[in-house]
């Protein structure tokens, strides 16, 4: 009996920003889906990438490891990365592990898109 709240990943584009929506568990089982979505938007030439969480209830260290992998590629591909929609607890965790040094953290999608616009 698998118990995961299976991660749903989808991609869309808004104001020149590639948005990756993530709802469900961000754990070791999420690796392929997250990486595939990132590679998809990157192959389409995305310069700005937003990981848009949906107040996900469960993100663990294995999930954070996947995101560090994304940060590695974003740095290599000279893209800009931001995250939004994290609960206050996971915003704290992202700052704690240092992910905030590589990706700006915004409350929600609108705030993130506005910030990307200012930088553009």
């Amino acid at each position: 009996m698998m118990l995961e709240d299976e991660l749903t990943v989808s991609t869309r584009e808004c104001d020149g920003v590639a948005i990756i929506d993530l709802s469900g568990d961000v754990t070791t089982f999420a690796e392929e889906k997250i990486n595939n979505a990132y590679h998809e938007v990157t192959s389409k030439g995305a310069r700005h990438v937003l990981l848009n969480f949906r107040q996900n209830d469960y993100i663990n260290s294995a999930g954070i490891a996947i995101l560090i992998g994304i940060v590695t590629e974003v740095t290599r591909n000279e893209q800009k990365l931001a995250v939004s929609g994290l609960s206050p607890h996971f915003q704290k965790i992202f700052r704690m592990v240092g992910l905030a040094q590589y990706a700006e953290i915004y409350q929600d999608e609108e705030e993130a898109l506005a910030a990307f616009k200012r930088q553009a």
């Binding site: 009996m1 118990l3 995961e4 709240d5």
Partner: protein, 152 residues
Amino acid sequence: MSGETPPRDPVERVIELRLPSKLGYERVAMDTASSLARRMGFQPDRVESLKTAVSEAVTNAIEHGNEHDAAMKVVVLLTARAGELIVDVADQGRKPFDHNQTIRRPVIEEVLEQDDKGGWGIWLIRELMDEVEFSTAPSGGNQIRMVIHLEQ
């Protein structure tokens, strides 16, 4: 066990919970059962039914079986199977179930006449769960087994 290859997709997974016999702790059993049921794919209304049934069963074990002796434990076993969730609630009490209670359906008009307005617990459990069975726990106390089926 050793030397044998475990089955690739084992039939069931068991979570065991041991709680003090103190009112309020039924909440822990409710939240644990609902967490499991939700992730097994039960619909929200079924999860609510399960929570009520678990709450009634654990409260019975605390109040009647273990007579509020906090040192005595209520043991809750949650068994997840492919198509169902089984919840066993056992107390360590020496007082067996009142058999009459386990089969009777309370009638509101009669209950209104009584001083004790309780006694709905077991009836509710029967209404809400797909299978209910009363037995003696391995520990010698009372045990109730409740089964809820996963409808796809």
